[in-house]
């Protein structure tokens, strides 16, 4: 009961914060400067890990699929097809965003939390700057624009990972793999992935910002806010995943 009440209260605070965030920036050039910085940091910091993990997962999915469908009735190119759809439908959006919730989300929560406990946010407010809008809006927009880009990178490198396995091992001929990638291709799956990642990016950035913004206390609370934000945004991402899949597919 108490937990329910608490969650409702949190949600209310979250909505109020969103209202504070989504107002017109005081200075547009300042907003664009911060947006550029945030976007640059996000992409530079995360691209390597996104590509690496996707490469390996693409490779592993290919190997495992091959291992699991050793039926002579199924054509060899099935492996390519299954790898493609697994990556497109679930891995590159949901799993990648769970990973980014851990990496980028915790970063945002601790950055904003630290600014809160060192009174930098108070300093902004006292000057008459809308601190939520100034600090958080560039983060949300940067993530919503560029996480889908990272997701596209993830899809490509995952598929490439499978191709590498096909080329360097004898489990399936590379040409069959490529043929599999192209057969029964539904372009809509790509859009579905990108649409999902818009939502996930919003969840990651706004939930992390909320947890950072409401910190009271010191370093301990900042650490806690950062883990809490990861837990909560992961759960929300999974829930949204179910809902969006039901709606979109």
């Amino acid at each position: 009961m108490k937990i329910l009440f608490q969650s409702l209260q949190r949600f209310g605070e979250y909505v109020l914060l969103l209202r504070k965030i989504f107002t017109t920036p005081d200075r547009w050039n300042e907003f664009f400067r911060r947006f550029k910085d945030e976007a640059y940091m996000l992409v530079i910091d995360s691209i390597a890990i996104v590509v690496t993990i996707s490469l390996f997962i693409g490779a592993v999915i290919t190997i495992q699929t091959q291992g699991n469908i050793s039926s002579p009735l199924l054509p060899a190119y099935t492996v390519g097809l299954v790898t493609r759809d697994t990556l497109l439908l679930e891995f590159s959006s949901s799993i990648m965003c769970l990973l980014l919730a851990g990496k980028v989300g915790s970063n945002i929560a601790s950055e904003i939390g630290t600014m809160r406990v060192t009174e930098q946010i108070d300093a902004l407010d006292i000057m008459g700057v809308n601190s939520a809008n100034y600090l958080i809006l560039p983060k949300i927009t940067a993530l919503v624009v560029f996480i889908p880009v990272l997701v596209v990178f993830s899809m490509c490198s995952g598929l490439f990972g499978g191709y590498v396995v096909a080329t360097f091992t004898d489990i399936i001929p590379a040409s069959r793999y490529i043929y599999g990638l192209q057969s029964y291709f539904t372009e809509y799956y790509v859009w579905y992935t990108i649409i999902k990642s818009f939502f996930f990016a919003f969840v990651i950035s706004s939930v992390a910002s909320y947890y950072g913004y409401k910190v009271r206390g010191g370093a301990l609370e900042v650490g806690k806010a950062s883990t809490d934000s990861v837990v909560v945004s992961s759960v929300v991402i999974l829930l949204l995943d179910v809902i969006l899949t039901k709606l979109l597919l």
């Binding site: 005081d26 300042e30 930098q120 300093a123 407010d125 008459g128």
Partner: protein, 257 residues
């Protein structure tokens, strides 16, 4: 002049400020003194509007902030400078950018004009040559100077300092105190300073209120503070060993006479 009347504030049912009334005069350094946890920061944050009190009035030159609309509050904010306990400089900006920040957000000045003003403010606080450094690269005393420079960048009418010399050595403390006092006189600012440092109290205490557990129990100035017979104030004033020793010495000498 800033006047507060009957301010009450509580957190989670615990009363932190009990019916505080006080007057803070223009061109003077007004001190709020008291032990840690006595409510100094809460009072200051209520006055500047970061915390909303449950009851009372806060008058800036006669205008009640609690009744102002958003537009008026925003205009007032541009006339307020505040120095936070931990300096609260923006980590991601250099010293010069920190001082230029309020100018960037609230004036239409060109970047050359902003830079000129920022450099002027940095010179005013005697900080030269640290422009390109980041807050984490300079000492605590220098950070305080940058924070003062940032606070005065927009020529404020009101200046608030929350424990401006906490964490500083005694000599730097005095320099910062004197800097704040000089700026207050020079620009005729209404300055309010929170402190628990007796050396500041004696040095710049032109108008003092003493808080004890959220209650105002004494007001006066640095000349009257030793003469007061208020027990709580005496406990606070003579808490340090140095003052205790001096007091004993004086009492001793007086009885011998």
């Amino acid at each position: 002049m800033i006047e507060v009347k009957n301010i009450v504030k509580s957190f989670d049912g615990k009363t932190i400020l009990r019916d505080i009334s006080a007057r803070f005069e223009t061109g003077k350094t007004n001190l709020i003194i008291g032990k840690s946890g006595s409510g100094k920061t809460v009072l200051m944050k209520s006055i500047v509007g970061l915390i909303r009190p449950e009851a009372g009035e806060i008058l800036y030159d006669g205008k009640n902030v609690l009744r102002m609309d958003a537009q008026e509050v925003k205009a007032l904010r541009c006339e307020i400078g505040m120095l936070f306990q931990g300096s609260a400089l923006f980590d991601s900006l250099t010293v010069l950018e920190n001082v230029m920040f309020p100018l960037k957000m609230f004036t239409r000045q060109s970047s050359a004009e902003r830079e000129k003003r920022a450099r002027f403010c940095l010179e005013r606080v005697n900080l030269i040559g640290a422009d390109r450094q980041y807050p984490s690269e300079i000492s605590g005393g220098m950070q305080k100077r940058v924070a003062i420079a940032r606070a005065i960048a927009l020529n404020p009418k009101y200046l608030f300092c929350d424990e401006p010399n906490s964490g500083l050595d005694p000599q730097t403390s005095i320099l910062i105190d004197e800097l704040v006092r000089d700026i207050t006189r020079e620009y005729n600012i209404t300055t309010i300073i929170n402190t628990h440092d007796m050396s500041s109290v004696l040095g710049i205490g032109e108008n003092i209120i003493f808080l004890d557990r959220g209650e105002k129990v004494w007001e006066g100035n640095s000349d009257g503070i030793f003469a007061s017979t208020n027990e709580k104030l005496n406990d606070f004033v003579f808490a340090s060993n140095l003052f205790k020793a001096v007091k004993e010495y004086i009492d001793d000498r007086n009885t011998k006479k």
